[in-house]
Structures are given as C-alpha cells and as structure tokens.
Symmetry: C3
Subunit: 325 residues, 3 copies
C-alpha cells in the first residue's frame, strides 16, 4: 500500500476535492459546502427526485469487492440521476489473489474512460492505493474500506445531524456498539471533530473498545447509561455476529440487546429531543428496539435520503474539481 497520508492526496494543490478517501484532514469549509450542495438535492416525498446534468457523458464504475445492497443502490441512483453512464461490477473477493490484479482491473477500466471509481473493499488501503495510481483526471470515492473509513456515511451523518441540531460545538454525541471494528464510527468521529464537536462518547462492550489513539478527545466507556446521559445524538451501530465471533467475544443477540440495545427506557437518559441514528441494515431487537427505530426520535430513513443526495453532491464536486484543473 503506497500511501500513509490519504488525507493529503485527496485534495488538489489548490485545495479542490479530487478523491474522497477519508474525512480526516478535510477542511471544515469543504464539509459545509458538501452539506449545502447535498441539501440542494433534497425534495419532498412524492416529488420527482432532483436531477442534474453534471455527469452527462461521464462514466461511473461501482466496484464492490464486498457485497452491499444499500450503498451500491445509493451510488447507482446518484449517478443515474446525474445522467452518467453506470457500470456495476460486483467482484467476488475470492477471485482476487494478489494486490496487482486490483490495479490491473483499474487500468483496464480506466482505458475504457471511466471517470469515477466508487470502491468498496474489505482491505485497508485499497481506495488510497487506487487513487495513487489513476490518471490525473480520474477520481476515486471510498464506499467503505475495511474497518478504517466510510467517508460518505460520515458525511451523510453530519448532514443529518446538522438538519436537526444547529451548533456542532455544543453537541453531546454517543456512538454505541462494536466501535473497535466500525468504519462508520471512525468517519463520523472525524467529521464531528472537524465540525467542532467536543463531547463524543464511545460506548462499547468489553473487548470491543477502540484504540484511543484513533479517537483523540473522545470518552471511551462500557457504561451505556453514562454514555447516553444528556446526549443530543445517539448513533447505534450494526452488530455483525461473524465479526464478534472472530474476536472471541461471542455475545448472544438477546444478551446484547439487554446490555447495549437502544430501548425507549434507555433513550430517556438522553436529551428529550435527542435524535437516534443507525447506518443500516438494522438488526431490530438486537442493537435497537423496533419501536425506537420507527419512533419519533428516529432519523434513520432520513439518513438514507441524505446519503443519496450527498453522493450526488460528491459526484458533482469531483467532476467540477477536474474541470478546474
């Protein structure tokens, strides 16, 4: 893997967004600009979705080396509503033996004049590796990278929080779940940090706490009640049983729910107007009670809508950056 500083490589020399690899190091103004642009793509339910000609004649390749339904659908519709040509390649990881062959796939698609690669991969460093090798006019969007980064999710989370809460600096945000392996938590924390949020609580079961070095300034705890106390935002993470098993912290779903599930009673510890977030897909009755998921404080489907708008904003932005080069 060629790069230690993806955060530098994603910007052009004059500061335009060329790739989106990580939220780490992205300036606050750029985050705000992306949120503003994405909001401009929102429409009321029932109205036709926003369209934009920014990608007419451009080609977007969705390269998903890890299975995904919702993120792939979101990027696919974002590209189609911007009138791009879209190529979906669901590549089984098992058919990939060595690092070089990913790059040969990229060189091949680049030779077919793909403009934007949307990449999801189970190995850390793959989006940055690809970004370091593509031609100057090609962009890479990270659609989920191992346990490291999921920057489009982070941006849609920020956008959703901003819609409900005005001042990031005054927020108390609790993220609950397997923080150690969560790219969602990592990207959210990086974005919140840039936006000025100082009160971040990371609530994880014993053994699933993150490396504190990855979350400077955050409070790491096993105590859900303490984490939720007075929170403005409660973000609960999907429990991935196969991952828990790997790490020998096998937890029964019912037991997990009892200890770390977000229920109506537990939510009373947060502020009365706290919002509840989940990146999906949910295990109802495990990390979140069904009545909370569907309740008045839930903004979960709003996150999905914002995600598509944010991906449209990102596509428009990287194509614009390219035109300014």
């Amino acid at each position: 893997m060629s790069s230690d500083q993806p955060q530098c490589e994603q910007l052009t020399s004059w500061g335009g967004l060329r790739h989106l690899l990580t939220l780490e190091g992205l300036p606050r103004d750029m985050l705000v600009d992306l949120m503003d642009r994405a909001e401009a793509y929102l429409r009321a339910a029932g109205e036709p979705p926003a369209r934009d000609d920014a990608l007419v004649g451009r080609t977007v390749a969705n390269l998903f080396f890890e299975p995904s339904t919702r993120t792939r659908a979101s990027f696919e519709l974002a590209a189609k509503r911007m009138n791009a040509d879209v190529l979906n390649l669901d590549v089984n990881t098992s058919s990939r033996k060595k690092g070089e062959s990913i790059l040969d796939t990229i060189y091949t698609l680049q030779a077919m004049q793909v403009d934007v690669f949307v990449v999801r991969d189970a190995s850390a460093g793959v989006p940055a590796l690809i970004a370091s090798e593509v031609q100057p006019h090609v962009s890479v969007l990270n659609a989920g990278e191992a346990t490291v980064s999921h920057p489009t999710q982070g941006l849609l989370d920020l956008m959703t929080i901003r819609h409900h809460k005005t001042d990031f600096a005054r927020l108390a945000v609790a993220i609950v779940g397997d923080i150690a392996h969560s790219r969602v938590a990592r990207s959210a924390a990086q974005g919140l940090h840039t936006m000025g949020t100082r009160d971040l609580r990371l609530v994880a079961p014993p053994g699933l706490e993150p490396d504190p070095a990855c979350y400077p300034g955050a409070r790491i705890t096993n105590d859900l009640n303490a984490g939720l106390a007075g929170a403005d935002v409660v973000m609960t993470l999907r429990i991935q049983n196969e991952r828990l098993r790997e790490h020998e912290t096998l937890i029964d779903a019912a037991e997990y729910h009892r200890q770390y599930g977000i229920t109506r009673e537990r939510l009373l510890r947060a502020k009365p107007d706290a919002i509840v977030m989940h990146p999906g897909p949910m295990n109802r009755g495990v990390e979140i009670a069904s009545d909370v998921a569907d309740g008045p404080q839930s903004v979960i489907t709003e996150q999905v809508t914002n995600g598509l708008a944010m991906r449209m904003a990102l596509l428009a932005t990287v194509i614009e950056t390219r035109q300014q080069r």
Copy 2:
C-alpha cells in the same frame, strides 16, 4: 401478513389502479383499458420498439427474491423504454431471515425515492404486505407471488386471447398441468372470469388438482381428452420437477408427456383454430411437443411481446393514477 383483501387495496378511492397485486376484483373496464393501452405499444417486428416519456425522472426498482430471467428482462426493458431509471436487485432468499427485513429494504429504497417496486417473491402475501406499508405515492407491481398470483402474466394472456378470439363469453379455455401450484392458472382464471368466460376446464394429473373453491364455476378433470374437446384456447403449464417431487407425485418426464403433453394429435380434439399458449420457459418434449410449440397454432412468442407491452401499460397507468391523486 397484514391484508386479507388485496383486491380492495390496489385501487384508489376513486377507482384508479395504484398497485397491481391480483386480478381478482379488478373491474372489467380496467382490464379492457389496460389491454387497449398495451396494444398501442405493439410494433411490427423489425420496427423500433415503442417508447414513452411517461416515466422520465421516475425510478423503478426490480426486487426479485426468486430468480427470473424473462419476467425481470420484460419489466427492465419496459421501464427503460419509458425512460425510467432502473435499479435491479436480485436478492437471494437465503439472505433474508425475517419478515421485517423485507420491509426495511423497502423503507430504505423508498427513502431513495423509488416510485415503483416490481416484486417477485416465493412467499404468499409479500406484495400486499409491501403495498400496505409504502408511502401514498409509491406503487407495487406483483411480478409473481408464490403459487398465488401472477397478475401481469394473466393480463398478457388475456390480451393474447383477445387478439385472436373476439368474444370471451363464448370461449372454451383449457388449462393443462400442475394447476394446484400454478399462479399462472390462478391469474388467468380470474381474468377470464371477469371477462365473461364461463367454460373453463382445468386438466391436472391426479394429486395436482386445485382446490375447487379457488376456481368457482370451472370444470376440474384428470382427463386431457375431455378437457381439450372443442377448446378455443389451450394453455399448457410448465412442469416443475422439484415441485412434483415435493408432493410425492413424482412423474417421469416421458410418462408425463405421454399422458399430459400437448401433441399434434391431441390438439386435433380442440377447435381447428384453437390457439396454444405457454407462459415459458418451456420443457419441450414434456408438457408440450416441439412441433406444437413452433406450429401455426402457437402464440407463445406473441405472449412474450404482449407481456412487455402490458408492463409498459401498467407502469404508465400507476404513474398516471398517482398524478390524479
């Protein structure tokens, strides 16, 4: 499953078609209107196919929880020729554990502003369940539901029959095969009933006869010759060996052909101008002889062409209904 009366829920209060879940209870005028609209989309072979801008800016999601090539292709081309954005999701049933998760997939796609869900599922009640949960501006088209319903197939069958035979009330129609498990037979019978056909013969091998309550007024028999006598329309069904095995009526293909296969000799029992139909894909030499499938009385490829036109008509109709709300 929430609904006992999908036939009521598919119409708006003023009688517009919002969802297509079943042909049961659809008024005769609506069937005629759909056939008229679909016919307007037919073109001569070699001419460019009909196009329509009725779905510009709309999104159609094909959710196939059961594998399908022809029905999926038909819906996909129908949507593309109406200039919709199309999202294909071939979801493996095994990845679906409980009822709720289907709905969460639907809520997610709805939050991405999908306008029409085309749903095929192996469980009874799923299209109606989805229809009962989507937002008011969203439509559901049933593309095959367990052994219960396949209404777009029923409509294309009616359209094909109408093209060749003028008066439904005077027709004798024979449906031959595993009636007990056939959604194709169910939907055809419902449509024929509404159109006024009174002479319906259901010919099934012993053990595969349907529940008579599902086919009021039909003649159910094991005797193929009696069923074919004087028929205007002969519809033969695909034999699904795996299903036969399940029901312990294991029949050898050659033996099935000998007893229930439609051959040239057998077809002589029907009217000289009888048409032969099959929903496809065919097992040639099993339920139908190859020379009958390709013979002058066969309207099998016409059914396929009509199917695509009918799916265009349905997409146009539900979008129009929505605009009139």
Copy 3:
C-alpha cells in the same frame, strides 16, 4: 449446430456486415473500414469519451454464458455510449441443459425486440447457431466462442498493430502461449492473414501446439528465441491453469515463466521497436514480466481502449447494414 460456413452467413447478399461470427472470410476492405470507424471513436485521455446516437431506441442484450468482466464491460459501455438500451444477462452454464433452451431464450428476447445479441459461450458453434435462427433484422456479435473464435479481440488487435506499424505485409508477428486452445490466436491469425501478413510464428510449449491446418502458412515452434527473432509484434497469451491441467501438460507457473515468459532480456531478440500485446487479464510474472507489461513497448492498455472503440464501430455497422436492407 447448423452451420459449417459462418463466414458466409455473416454478410448480406450485397456484402454488408450483418453478424460478426468470425474474421475468417471477411474482406480486407471491411476490416479496414471497421478500423477506420473505430479510430474515429478514439479520444485523448481525460476528454469525454465519444458518443453516437446510432443506437437510440435500439436494444442490445449481453448474453454471457461464460463469466467475463472486461469484455462484458467493454460491450456494455460501447452500447451505452451509443445510447442503446442495454440488458445484461449473465447466465450460468449449469442452468442450461440442452441446445434448444438457448434458442428459446433467444426467441424470448427477440420477442422483446432485442436488436443485437452479444454472445459469449463455451461451446463451439453457438453464435452461428443463434445467427442462423434470428429474424432478418437481428444481429449477433460473437464475444468469445470456446477455443474457436474471438473476432472482436482480433479486430482490436489489428487496429492496435496498424496504429504502430504501417505495412501488414512486412510484419513479423510472434504469438506465444497455449496456441492450441486460444481463440485469441485464431482470430488474430485470420485477421493478419487477410491484411497480408505472411511471417507469423506460433510459439507453444510442447503439447500445446495448434493443428497446423488451422494456421496455414504459419511457422509453429516450441522455441521461443527463434519465434521472437526480429519480430515486430509480440503477442503473449494468458495461461489458463485449469486448461493446462486438463490436457495433462501441467506446468508450474515459475517454470512456465522461465521457459516462455516474456521478459526484458528475451524481448531484446525482437526488433527494438517491437510492440508487446496481451489480451488480458494478465498473470504478471507468469506469461509476462511485470516490467514488460508496464514498459515502453507495451500497448496493452491501448488494446483495451481500442476494443471499446471497435465494439462501438461494430454496433454502428450492423445497425447501418440493417437500415440498408
């Protein structure tokens, strides 16, 4: 399989290209015309790709009965950039039991008004069989046929050679690898023959030499050094281990590289301005050294770019042929 002379059947009575089944028998003028047309679709890297309205309202079905990423992506983008409606059907060979069912799939899609079938199949004769059965206005493009033919690859190879070398008649071309099972070698040799190349060397490991009757006039050898001596073009083929194993000539990858891999030292035996070609995907370090693949003599990514342009040219040509009928 119905046809012994696909080369006759692919042209109309007045000599227009209706199907592309094989390069065998295609007149030199037609090859030149296709190369000229394809070159007109080339654009500089970073510029928007060429587009063409020649296929507006037309439907292209990609029927891949053998898995493929690059060829399918190339045809898909070619069709989309010509504004066709595109249907992708990746059909698992295992789900196909007898010859007739392929044709029934074709009849079905034809009834949905598909205009062009792009077909890849592991059985010899399938593209010609389909071409012999479709309606007069429908075209078939062979996207890879068993070990027999890969004509679009042959055309892109010719186009790439022509760009670098002016006179086919004076060229010495070496093709290296498992010639016995290579459809790429077969199509390249047929095209080169038509263009006037007389010095063709086929270098294969013992046991993998081709039937000389398939390569009239070519020199067949096991000696790589002799094959490369003074060559203008070095085309190396992908080693398919599973195929080697079948033919009991199991060769270890490192041993293959030592004996038949194209390395910098070996390349010194060819002319100094020799170009190096590979159809992809590459096994770096097996049939080709990585520094050769990425070196100044390599035209491998150019082949990919030319391939997409050639497929656009072919789609435009068969649609034009149809309009002249």
